[in-house]
Subunit: 224 residues, 2 copies
DNA sequence: CGGGTGATTGATACCCATCAATAGTGGTGG
DNA sequence: CCACCACTATTGATGGGTATCAATCACCCG
């Protein structure tokens, strides 16, 4: 996530601002692109595509996030971007971003910091998917998104809007939508967290954090 | 991976060069560190630690790799570094690296590029662990490491040294060492790849790549 | 030539995938 | 405003890929 000032500096550049409907791909794998994407509203997912058509979502972005700062350095993608629900984005040319980075060293550093945050979240996801069961994975995801939403000024950690379907959550956590459904029912029965109507409501934050083994350090926060 | 010149620029700085024996931790989770680590020889792994003691390796580094460039931006870690076999490293102060980055914009960009490569590998691992079976995961890992070893001038993609134990491979791919063992036996019986005496020998590269669904784009290479 | 780590093997259990079908829900157009 | 339609959520039955537990074997290093 970039600061308000940093986002404004980017938006001062001329940029398109297209809208997308659910399931539409903003970038397809193996494309070579000349622009980066700043989310204006809604959720965007980065994904990896398997030969059999299965998708693995590797990152979830919200308003204020740059989805593909990577592409400034590596314009040929190995991944795609897809609209998780309705969303709108700003597209900014790589050349313009490079210009900004050269003119303002602070922004260059901010780009690096954003990339580090992205990588830090990716590493944490590997731990989740590789070593935790479905309940802990989903709990961790909902914790993480809550903190990020709150920090972005888009809601509260215990109550926030989320465009993802259960299928999306499965694609993100390496599960099937069927199993996500059963696991969410369990978390709801335990009165820990509820997901209904594209809205997350945390009933018992302490237990959610405990189930997830959630430690926010990886989000590069002070403490929170 | 940094270029030879970039590594030399870093090594021109005064730095320690300690050695580590297998299983020793170079950095423990939740530490605040003042230096970054450049691998001199052997393999180093970054890992995430679960409450029950289980480890998930999130990255594998080889000679010439910077393990924790992250820490320049975020000095308090959510991860640890461990010696996968005998290894030696150079430790370089964050302050010195920041100085270099300011003095030489090319190096600053190199740091960013390295971080992007790291994140790109992390994202691919998520896809592997989340959506592929044990055979494909291991095949993919051995493909990836082969390319990286070759590019670093440390071996050939079809024949290279690897310090990892089967337990390490399990920790990296979200499997148990028992299942890694059985899967490696199968890959050996199929005459696809053999891992013996800390050495990887690829018998049938085409099949290995096919099993892994390996596409090297994510390593930011031209083609290879 | 020990001694300890890593590799190997077998038996059993379980989490989650898979397949299939039904119910619910929100958005759209007539 | 309601009927319709596609997508999403839900439920049940079954199977499979891995985990788990527990030995035993092989190997490397001092």
């Amino acid at each position: 996530m970039l600061s308000k000032e940093e986002q404004d500096a980017i938006l001062a550049l001329k940029s398109e601002a297209p809208r997308f409907t659910p399931g539409r791909d903003l970038v397809r794998p193996s494309e070579t692109i000349g622009h980066a994407t700043l989310v204006a509203s809604g959720n965007v997912g980065r994904f990896d595509l398997m030969r059999n058509g299965a998708r693995q979502i590797t990152a979830i972005y919200m308003a204020g996030d740059m989805c593909d700062l990577y592409s400034v350095v590596a314009p040929t993608t190995s991944w795609g971007l897809t609209a998780l629900g309705n969303c709108s984005v700003h597209r900014v040319a790589h050349a313009d971003l490079r210009g900004l980075a050269e003119a303002y060293p602070g922004l260059a550093q901010a780009f690096w910091r954003v990339t580090v945050l992205d990588a830090s979240i990716l590493a944490k996801w590997i731990g989740n998917i590789g070593r935790k069961d479905a309940r802990a994975r989903i709990a961790h995801l909902l914790c993480e998104l809550g903190i990020r939403m709150e920090r972005a000024g888009l809601g509260q950690r215990d109550s926030y809007a989320l465009a993802l379907t259960q299928e999306h959550i499965g694609d993100a956590m390496g599960l099937t939508s069927v199993h996500v459904n059963r696991t969410l029912q369990r978390l709801k029965a335990e009165e820990v967290v509820t997901l209904h109507g594209h809205h997350v409501t945390v009933g018992d934050r302490d237990r959610l954090v405990a189930i997830a083994e959630f430690t926010p350090t990886f989000l590069l926060c002070g403490e929170e």
